[in-house]
Every structure is written in C-alpha cells, then in structure tokens.
Amino acid sequence: MSQSFNRGLVEDFGRWREFSAGMWAWVFHKFTGWVLVGYLFTHIAVLSTALSGPAAYTNTITTLEGLLVVRVLEVGLLAVAVFHMLNGSRLLLVDLGVGLERQDVSFYASLILTGAIVVASVPTFMAGVSL
C-alpha cells in the first residue's frame, strides 16, 4: 500500500534542481489540469454561439479556425491534454499499486510519448491554415 508523502514546499520553485521525477510529474499534472479546466469553460463559451443560430456558430468556428494563432494554441492544448491523460493513466496505476517503484521511467515515457503524438499530429492540426 502506498503512503502519502509530505512533499514539503514543492511550490518553492527555488528548489527545482532538487525535484525528483515524481515531483516534476506532480507539478506538470497540476499545471496541465489548470489549463484544461480553464479551456473547458472557454470551449463551452465558444460553442454557445450555437444558441445564436447556425450562421453565428459556423462563422465563429470558421473565423477562429482560420487564424494561425488558434491552430498553434490547439497544438498546445493537444500537448497539455495528452500529457495529462498519459500521466493520469500512470497515476491511476500507481494508486492501484502498479509501478510505484518505476515512477521516473513511466514519467519520462509519458513525456516522450506526448512529444511523439503531438509532433505526429501537427500536420493534421495545421492543415488548410495560412499565415
């Protein structure tokens, strides 16, 4: 059975050189979680233009998707979401007692896999947008 660990002041980033892989995973998971919950509220707000009618919704989405900065932000969102999902899977397994002793390896694997998925998705996410 895993034990809860007193991290001390992990928020004190002056200690970042002392952070272990598990602490980095905790920091990244928290950061990506804040981004995702913020995006959820933004996402519903943008989709709510559907309440103003078909033309308002279609125009809003088409205009946003035509902007390069939105496409770049979408790639960023993908990176954040994929890391949160992969690291979250790791945490689910750790809570089930699987891989507690190999957290560093599974954390690095989450980072590498996130990078690979995001890079492979860039062409699809950038298709059809112009500078």
Binding site: S20, F41, I44, L47, S48, G53
Partner: protein
C-alpha cells in the same frame, strides 16, 4: 523512488470520484479528440455537422455525460489543489460553493448548447 505525489488524500470520496471520472474521461476525451480533429477536422465544423452528430441519441447522451464528468473532474481537481495548498475554514466553504455554482452554470450552458444542435427546446 517510491513516494506518492498527489494533491488528494488517498481513500477519500473526492479521491475516489476523481479516479472514476478519470478512467471514463481517458476513453471519451481520446474519442472526442480523434473524432473532431482526425475523422472530421476542426476547420470543417459547421452547425449542420454538429447538429447531425448531436441528433443521434447515444452521441447526445455520451456528450452530456462527458460534460458532467469533465466539469466534476476539473472543478474537483481545482478544489483539491487549493485544499492541498492550505485553503481552509470559511474561505474553503466560500470557494467550494463558488465552484459548485460555476459548475452548474457550465453544465446548464453546455446542455442548452447541445439542445440547440439536437433540436430540443426544454431549457
């Protein structure tokens, strides 16, 4: 290294439901991303295409459940992160109810939007 790093107290109700919703969201979020970025492309989104998907009952119900679980998972995560950072007492109560109200507003707005696509006029 065998330390367990988490903002959650293991074994509690908030921890338990965070894990249950996480398992559900892993599958449905992957489906959502894949469907709306790889099968369809975000740039091709129109009201008619969104409506066509949402008029299918199973898809509509899945998206409503997705909305509710994502809202719970996100807001519960924020709440626990704040408690972990020392939030307590009256401030904790105030933050809790602010998050509850924000969640209800988000879910109601999301359901209204889904209903607009599905052609349902309840709320």
């Amino acid at each position: 290294m065998s330390e367990r790093y988490s903002s959650f107290e293991p074994g509690g109700r908030r921890w338990f439901w965070q894990r249950i919703t996480a398992a559900f969201l892993l599958v449905v979020l992957a489906f959502h991303f894949f469907l709306l970025h790889f099968v369809w492309h975000a740039a091709e989104v129109t009201f008619a295409l969104s409506a066509a998907r949402m008029e299918t009952l199973s898809y509509y119900l899945l998206m409503i459940l997705f909305l509710i679980t994502a809202t719970f998972h996100g807001v519960n995560g924020v709440y626990n992160a704040l408690i972990n950072a020392g939030l307590s007492g009256q401030k904790r109560t105030a933050v809790k109810w602010t998050l509850v109200v924000a969640s209800v507003v988000l879910v109601v707005q999301g359901v209204r939007t889904a209903n607009a696509w599905a052609g349902i006029s309840i709320i």
